[in-house]
Structures are given as structure tokens and as C-alpha cells.
Assembly symmetry: D2
Homo-oligomer: 364 residues x 4
């Protein structure tokens, strides 16, 4: 495989560039009989879409998805599901001035060296625009996981730049002014002010997204290499701008003692969840908890040093419509990636272990 396919049994193969005619993908391996329509996918696409507030890119994309196949009378058939999202606001002229120059922090230089091609139109394939496809596909997985197991996957902004955002409650995410996916309504003014300041400084900032999956059944994950946490790490680190992934206690577990970290078992359930819901690469039945670190947006309206295609020193400034914090719109993407991984593992698990019945009580 050449890198554009995710998964083993439930797979997403993705195509498309930021400024080509369309982006899209093929979801293969979906079990038949799932009620599905484009509207199911649109909900999450709309949560990710640009232009919804002054804190995100002003690019104007409807991100309207069309389902091209795999459905019959409103249900999945087991055949591959073709997804198509036309690009409508390419404005490729915006990018003409960077044609011969590599933007710092972007994939321009590495793509050019790898493929010998400089697709200067907004990053081409390396643009985060491609993540819309993942969000659409992830919505299918979310729906199936919900119906099959009651799994609920929700993410939130847990840190914005240097500001930690304490979790207060999921209700916060429904607040109409909450463009930040903040789990804490009271902090919204602070976050707004902070972002206004960052934008005023013509700069950008990073963020941390936390995603939680509830009601995951015990037993998902394939040792040794395709552990559930390994595949989650693969999926998350495969999102644009991600530089770190933690499961449960993550890097904090370095300084923990075993007596503190290792969650004891009782008939009433696990005592604590430092493991983040995964032991030995297999889900425990507890909440799966993942933290994802996003770097600050590379495109900032400041003059920066770079080189051109001839290797000469140049100064450059990116002036397009960019998110000052890519993490702000990342929550639906992170949720989608977790959903895709969980669904793949649910199918892989029952492929090998459909007949397993154990008398060991399931911990709640």
C-alpha cells in the first residue's frame, strides 16, 4: 500500500488535493445493513468546516459530501462506499507568490524532494483539507459503533497554547458560541481573548485535543504490533500537525510508581484508569483516553527565512487564509480517526474470535 489507505478490514482510502477538483475516498469493509445517508456524514463535516468563526480560516467550502455507492434503499450493502466532496473555493491565485519557495514548517520542501514535483497550490496533497474525507468516513464508523456497542466518541480542546482547559462537562460542547470545542464554557472569553491576541501578533499557537471513547467492549486490539494503542497512535500521528500522542497517563507515567500507575481490579471494576482503557494493546472495557498534541500553524503572516527552488536564501510571508490554531478545528478529525481504528479492530476481533465465550465477569 502506498500510504493512502488506513485499516485492515474496515478501510479508508483517500484521494484529493486542496486545490484540485475534488477530494474523496472509499470506505471498504462496512458491514451491510447500516442505515446511512449523506446527512449522517454532513453533521461532522459541518463541525470541521472552515469559516465558522473569526478564529479559523476564512476559506469558504461547503464541504458537501456525496455518497456514490455502497447504499441500497438507505442501507449499506457491504460494497465499498464512495465519497466525493467537490472543492468549490480553490482561489489558486492566492498561492502564486510561493510557487518557487518552500514555506517553513510545511511539507513543501519534503514533498518536492520526494516526488520531484512542487504542487504549490495550497500544499496540494499535504493540505489539511484532506482531513474532511476522514471526518466523513469516521462518521460512518461512529454510527456503526454506536449502534453495535453503544460506543460514544467525543473529543475536546484540553489545552490552547499555554492555557490548560480543564474538563467541566460534555454539555459545554453544545454551547452555541463554543467554536473552540472547549469542555468549559466559562473559559470561552479567555480563549477568545487569547486567540485575538495571537492573531494580533501575527502568530499562531498549538493545542492539545483529548478524545474519549466510552462503552468500548473489552477485547479489541491485535497483539503484537497492531495493538489498539499502536493503531491509535498511528492514526493520530497521521493527522496534519500532530507531534505527540498519549494513551491514558501518557508521559506522566514516567514519573509514576508502579504502585500508583497500575490500576487495581475489584469486582466493582478497575480502580482508576491510568492505562487509558488499554492493557497489553487490548481494550479493557474502560474509557479509552487519548491526548494529541498539535503544533502551531506553520502559516503565519510574518516574514521568515527560507530558500527557493534553486536553494537561494529568500524572505517569505504566507498571506493566505489560515487557521491561527489548527487544533481548534481538529476535534472532529481526532474523533474520526479514533472511530476508524475502533471499527477496524471490532471487525478484526470478531474475524478471529467470534466464537470466544468466557465466563470471566466483565468489569464495569
Amino acid at each position: 500500500m502506498s500510504g493512502n489507505t488506513l485499516g485492515t478490514l474496515f478501510t479508508l482510502t483517500s484521494f484529493g488535493e486542496s486545490h484540485g477538483p475534488a477530494i474523496g475516498g472509499i470506505v471498504d469493509g462496512c458491514p451491510p445493513g447500516l442505515e446511512l445517508s449523506a446527512e449522517d456524514l454532513q453533521v461532522d463535516l459541518d463541525r470541521r468546516k472552515p469559516g465558522t468563526s473569526r478564529h479559523v480560516t476564512q476559506r469558504n467550502e461547503a464541504d458537501q459530501v456525496e455518497i456514490l455507492s455502497g447504499l441500497f434503499e438507505g442501507k449499506t450493502t457491504g460494497a465499498p462506499i464512495g465519497l466525493l466532496i467537490r472543492n468549490t473555493d480553490q482561489r489558486s491565485q492566492d498561492y502564486s507568490k510561493i510557487m518557487h519557495t518552500f514555506r517553513p514548517g510545511h511539507a513543501d520542501y519534503t514533498y518536492t524532494q520526494k516526488y520531484g514535483i512542487r504542487d504549490y497550490r495550497g500544499g496540494g496533497r499535504s493540505s489539511a483539507r484532506e482531513t474532511a474525507v476522514r471526518v466523513a468516513a469516521g462518521a460512518i464508523a461512529k454510527k456503526w459503533l454506536k449502534q453495535q456497542y453503544g460506543i460514544q466518541i467525543r473529543g475536546y480542546l484540553s489545552q490552547l497554547g499555554e492555557i490548560p482547559v480543564p474538563f467541566v462537562g460534555w454539555d459545554a460542547l453544545a454551547h452555541p458560541d463554543n467554536v473552540f470545542f472547549s469542555p468549559n464554557v466559562e473559559m470561552l472569553p479567555e480563549l477568545e481573548a487569547y486567540m485575538d491576541q495571537v492573531r494580533g501578533e501575527r502568530d499562531s499557537v498549538g493545542a492539545q485535543i483529548t478524545v474519549v471513547a466510552e462503552q468500548v467492549p473489552v477485547g479489541l486490539g491485535e497483539p503484537i504490533f497492531d495493538r489498539l494503542d499502536a493503531d491509535i497512535a498511528h492514526a493520530m500521528m497521521g493527522i496534519n500537525a500532530v507531534k505527540g500522542v498519549e494513551i491514558g497517563a501518557g508521559f506522566d507515567s514516567i514519573a509514576q510508581r508502579g504502585s500508583e500507575h497500575c490500576d487495581e481490579l475489584t469486582p466493582e471494576g478497575f480502580v482508576g484508569n491510568h492505562a487509558g482503557g488499554i492493557l497489553g494493546g487490548i481494550s479493557t472495557g474502560q474509557e479509552i483516553i487519548v491526548h494529541v498534541a498539535f503544533k502551531p500553524t506553520s502559516s503565519i503572516p510574518q516574514e521568515r527565512r527560507s530558500i527557493n527552488m534553486d536553494g537561494e536564501a529568500v524572505m517569505m510571508q504566507t498571506t493566505g487564509r489560515h487557521d491561527p490554531c489548527v487544533g481548534i478545528r481538529a476535534t472532529p478529525i481526532v474523533e474520526a480517526m479514533l472511530a476508524l481504528v475502533l471499527m477496524d479492530h471490532a471487525l478484526r476481533h470478531r474475524g478471529q474470535n467470534a466464537d470466544v465465550r468466557t465466563t470471566v465477569p466483565v468489569l464495569k
Copy 2:
């Protein structure tokens, strides 16, 4: 695939349990013509092997590897390389008392629920003993990467429990008393004392390993999903006890500004390496820098709450021979995983892009 195979073109398929007759694996896709012998693999196996100091498990395993195939007249032939390591110190009687009980922090409960089987012999397949196979396979990758590109892959202990271990120099690792893979000789007494204390408290502690690959050519990594960093994250999170993975600035990039994080380009090279050597999922030609968080060992000689196979509350204490800090022996494993990923991507890259020639200067 059922989880025991890593890689796309250069693959390792692994087998074996802690207390079965043997562990081993098959390395497939190795280019022909590489000079190779069991001794090449033994060097790294000996670095990982138990029993080398009082700070690691006293299990006595020679970890002698036999190469069963894929060589002819001392060179690889392109055929799969069969690897075999006999288990010699199983002592499965040690484990009889935990037969019906799930050890907290271990995979006992999750494996049992997934497979319906309780292989109580030292964790069975979930034992870190299996990582010896990865180290053996990684040594093949290391050798090829070194010969082909001059790539050097080296890891070190960068944090032990709450003690950060500042990097002083690679020479430190050659110090004969340095059982910690510490890049800092002066800290050895402090590390020794710390571990003695932890052991004295009948407890365990976590660690952070940092691994660096030098001389990696620009261009390795397959967007979108199989980015180089995504595959590294997958490989690292697939190591026993790992709870977090960072590339370059990692979680620190959350609080960074774009103006600080994004490494500028100059004709003399990149200014900084917050990216950790990877942009857009593709290697930049800079050092690849990865940080890996290991949780504290789950097996500690303290009474802890658990449940038995019937779900009843029990108290248990693990008494086997265990590493008080699994991170101490983890450096060769982390190096091996990085080597396996880099070699796979080197082959994948030339599969698709062997003909690419660019006139863009390569940054040093």
C-alpha cells in the same frame, strides 16, 4: 494481517511466548547482497538481555539467535530470514500461584477476555520477552541502513522516574558501568541510588527513552496515513509498557508559537529541528528525534487488589524476577523499532520514486 507482522515491504512477523519452547520471527523483503551473520544480531540482543545488572530482571536467558534461512555464503539472498531464539530459563512453576488471578497492570485480563484463554506462564504472548525478536530483526535493518545511507540509530535514557537525564554525549553509552543507557556518566551514581531506593520500596518506576537517527535521507515517508512519524508512533506504541510517543518538540509544541516552532530554511540548512526531522510525514534529512514514555513495571512485590477468574476479590503479589524499570532495558528495542520503520520506508520510497531526480539542493 493479525497483528504480528510489522511493515509493508520490509516486514517482521513474530512468534513465541515467554515460557514456550522458543521465540522467533521472519524478516521478509531484505535486499540481497547484505553481509550478515548471527553475530551481527547478537550484539544488540546482548544489549537487551536480562541479568546484566541488579537493576534488571535476573532471568537467565542466553538469547542466542539462530539464522535459519535467507543467507548464502554469508550474504542475504532476498529470501525471508528465519530467526530462532530458544527459551532456556522458563521456570514456569514460578507462575503457578497466579494461574487464576489477573495481575494488575498486565494483559492477563484483556487477553483472557479476548481469547478465552489464560496462558498464565509469565504473560505468555504478552511478555516483553518477545521484544528480543524485534531487536534481532532491527539489527538487520540497522546494518543495511548504515551501509546504504550511513544512517546511525542510537537511543538513550532521557528520564528515569522523576529524574531528567540531560544528554552529554554518546560516548557515555560505552562506559562499562553504564547499565542504564544513560548519556551522562556523572549521573550514574544518582541513577543507581535511585533504583536501589525504588527496589527497596518494593516498587517500580517509569522512564523515557529518546532515540535519534542521523543521516536519514530526505524523502522517506508515505502520505497520508503511513507518514514516517505515524509509522514510528505505531511501532513505538507497539512496545510493551509504552504510553506516549513524541516526534521532535512533541507536547511542548502545544505552547509554542508558530514563529518559534517552525524551523526556517536557509542555504546552510534548517534553523532548528522542532520538527524532529519530519515534515508532512516525510523525512527532512535532519536528525529524526523520538521520545518514548514507558510506564512503571506492573509487576511489583506488593500486595494489590485484583480479581480471580470467577470475578471474586483477591489480594495478590507478583514474586517473579522482574525489571523494576522496564525502560532500563528498552533502549535497544526502541532503536530496533525505529530501524525497522526506516528500512521499510526506504524500500517503499524507492519502489515508487526510484527515478525521481531533483535539482533542489539538499539541505545539510
Copy 3:
């Protein structure tokens, strides 16, 4: 993978149903720098398309392909190539009378039992309409193979029903009246008359297609399981209606003696090509020769016994627009499948063996 992806490094993932909004696919792993346009694909699509003579289905499909991604300034970029073909002549009302009945010889019964869904619209996913996607993708492979190695892939009708069609020359295929892909112009009247007779009898008939690849370099194919011939067999048997695949002498080799079958080597080249250009699963550098057996079309306008969804005996007659011999339009499909396999193996080969240089003379 769930069966809709072909290949390892150069891959085609396909979607779409006969009577849905569109069919299409994603070609991943294409090397960058290949000049490509939709016209390149259209040539072969037009060779496969329905309605070109009275001997094939009268369904009216333009089969106009749109390339949605992977191109920049007329060249491939290394990014996945999205392909889209809208269905324009669905006429799903044609199929209403078979809604509850399984057509003999079709996949209706097996799909229904497998997926629990009866997509009665022209066979849904099991329709040969999907092969248009393969033809489009195969045209990309053909172009690259031609440019890279001078490989030429051409197929022809070698048997129609009980009539063997001796090979006279490739020129015959260019004859304007040759709707049969017959390599023998003189036989065209006989073939026409034969098909008129079959149609007159309200019946259908099988065919054999032979496909030849010239200028294939020595060395393509991956032992043990992914031999070049094994992957060709997989690709060909994966075409609708195919029941047999032969390489070189094929089934005739059963009755051959070793002294006859085994092609001797001389400095001037191999003496004969009973091997069909493949030894030990690896290309010899000779012509690759493959024979493919197509069964007679299952849809015939005769009353036949079947059962309905309740298992009750019914009589049914298929009345849609069907090819009386599916083999007639199969030549471009067979060529495409061979091209896809060869290109995948070319990339796989250079992934592992790019550095191999041998002093053994290449036989011509």
C-alpha cells in the same frame, strides 16, 4: 482489506454499482512525473464500452472518466489518482421483475446470502460494469510500463464458443469492422454469423481471451506466494465470468514430457516459451502469455428454473440488454489486469532490488 483493492505498491481500490450514481476508483502508488490525462484512459474505455455493435449489450454509457486528483500540470504527482465515471443509463425499471428472484448463473443468490441484501438493480456491485474502472486504471499502468520499459500489452479473442481463432497478426485488431478483437480478419464473417446464430437461439456462449506482454524485463515477481503468475491468476480469475487461467502451455503441459516442455537456454535466447515467460514465479524476459476462459453469459432470454426470496420454485427469463458473449468486450479488461499486476511487480521489484546489478547476460 475487504476485497476491493488490488496490488501491494501500485494499487487500485474500486467502488460503484451498475445502477448507482457512479463507479470509480483510486489508483495509489503511481510514480510521479508520468504525463497523464483523461484522454489516455478514454482510449481503452472506448474499446470496452457497450453499444458498439449488435453483438454486445445495447446499454448506452458514455463511460466518460474524470480524473479528480493526483495530477499537476499534466503530470502525476505521486499522490493518489481519483477516477470517476458517472452512470448515465441506469434504467433501473428494467430490473423490477427480478426483484425477488435469483437469476441462474449470477451472483444474486450468493450476494444475498452473504450480505443479507438483494440489490436487484442490474447485479449491483457484481455487475461487469465495474470493470470499466479497471480498464481506466490499467491504462495508467500501460502508459507507465510502456515508457519505463517499452512493455506492450495486447490481448485478442483466441476462441469464440467452439471456434478456435488462430492468431494471424496484431494488425487485424485495427480493422474497423473487428468488434471481436479477433487477430484474424478473414474469420470475421464466420464470427459474425456464429454470434447471429447464438443470438437467434436466444442463447449465449463463452470465449477465450489471450493476452501477451512484450518487453517485460527479467526479474519481476515475488516468490513464494506472490509469484508473478500467481498474481496474474488472481487478477484474471477476479474478472467477472472467468473460470480458468493458464500461463504459457497451461493445461497442455500435463501431457507434455519434460524434454519437450522445458525451454532450453542458449546464448541466443530461450528455445521456446512453454513457460509463458515466467519461471519460478519470476519473469524470464520473454513474452508473458496468458489464456483466460470466460463462461457464457448467464443472462439469456430463455425461461429458466429458479427460486424466489422465499425459496419457492419460479420460472424466470432475463430480458435486459446483455452481451450474448461477455468475452467479446473482455479484451481491454484482460489487458488492464495484466498491466496492473506488472506495474505493481515492477515497483515491488525495485523496492527490494533496486541495487542489484548482475553480470549474467540478459537473454533476448
Copy 4:
């Protein structure tokens, strides 16, 4: 993957050369709870093993398999199953005279050109000795398929050279003198005489093996590319010396009319089985019938033209211990390959479709 792995969920990865220390493999994805021992595998290994009559190679190999992992208390655990067969009768001196020469009909020339290495020890990796690993792995699949579904997989010699061997009954295979896997005891003297004649002429001959799987449930197979028949074709064409594969009526279907070929459905079952148990790439529930063509052994004790490593003309004669008809010992291999494919598809099927329940009656 580099060609030495078969399957998607239930996989076999194979290693080993004819004259190296050992051959073996790893079976991954086996469901837990299957009772298994080395004896289960040995039965089929003994059916394939050399030296059992004067009609096969006199190489003396015990072919004793050791199971290295994946079992606990006599049952599979879900972990990978390591298989090891030591080579005991290498006699590599036999091959010294062919060191610099390519044997006609063998893979010597193609391997050398592909890998740049001439492993002259009995064909190295290209030797049919490797098929012992497949037989061992296939025995696991056979046992599981039998227990899970009652599937029985049996093969027989259906043609030896120019002599068709009509099927009389499975009982014939149990006849103690039946070294031919002939389904026809009365023909044994003729087959013996024929082989004596072929050997007397210092020649070899081809064979056809037919393999039948009974009690296969309806619904196995993954459209579009990984149809059950496509994967069977891949598996069979991946056996050494195979040049053709047919499903059901195979090449005979070319000359059939649709009215004859297409098996009608009745409440009592299908009328006929020209399809060979597969429609649209999915099993029908009928017997799966596969015919496989084996070419004559390439190693014959006659002087033949060839070239040496410098491309010079030489005469050569292979003098080792060879099967005069490789097809004779091929029956267990063909059975094993079919079993491996069916088991993989059984797991893939339930991965995606475990929940499907249909009210359509299953045809008997």
C-alpha cells in the same frame, strides 16, 4: 509484503531453503481454542513426504514438524503458531556441478537475474521443498474448517501425462499401494507402468490434480478482487510447477452455451455445478471444485542445452534425486492451499458479516 505471506486474516508466512538448516513458517490469526498438536500436522506432511515409492524423489527427509508457539494446554491461544522443520538430508555436494549453470525449466536464471545471487543448493528458496510448510499450515486450517463447518477437503490425481484418471471413489485413496493419489484403484497398474516407462526414457511428465471442498457454507469470498475463486487461483498458481487453474467447468465453459452452463436453482438445490461452487466470487454452498495443471518436472537425466553464468553455451544434465512427476506428491499441497484460502475467507467473512441473518433458504 514481500511475497512470502499468504492470506489476510488467517496468514501463513514461510521461510527456508532446500539446503539450509531448516524450513518453517508462522501461522497467524488462528482462532483460539482449537485442539492442536504436531501429530495433526504430521499426517499430511507424511502424505507429501519424499521417498515413499520408486515413483518419487528418493531424498530422505523425516519432515518432522515442531510447533514452537501458539499452543497452551493443547489448544491454540490466538497467538501466532511457529512451525519448524529441520532439513536433515541436504547433501549439497550433489549440486556442485551445476553451480555456474542454469538448469532449463528451473528458476535458476530468473532468481539470479532478480537477486544477483545464485544459490545453487538444490534451487534454494525456489525448491518445492518449501511446500512442506504449506502442508503443515494447511493441516491447521483443515482441522478448524472441519470442526467449524464440517468442511472436508480432498484432492486426487485426475490426469497423469496423457492418461485421464476417472474418478471412481474417495475410498481408492486409502488403498495401501496407491502412491499416486489415484481415485481409481483399477488404474494403478497402468499408472505404475506408465511412470516406469517415463523414468526409463529418462524423462518426466505432467499431471492434473483435482481438489474438492465439501460442506463449504454459502457466502465466502470478497468481491471484487479477492473473490474466492481469485484467491484460490492465486494460491494454486503459487505452487511450484503449476501452469493452469480451473474452477468448475473451467476451460470447457468456453464452448458451452449459457443454457447449458448456468446452473438452474430449484428448491431442492442447484441443478448441476458447472460453476464449481462459486458465483460472483462467492461460495454457493455446493462443492468447490478446482483443477490444477502441473508441468512435467524440469529436472531430467538428459543432456540439455543451457548457458553458464558468463552466458556461454553449455550442455548439462541434472542428476540429483528428483520426482519424475511432481504432480504425484502434489495432492496434499493442493489440499493445503485450498484449506488456507477457505479459512482466511471464513474469518474475513465473519469479520464483516457476522451479524447477517437472512430468511432466504439455504440450498442443499
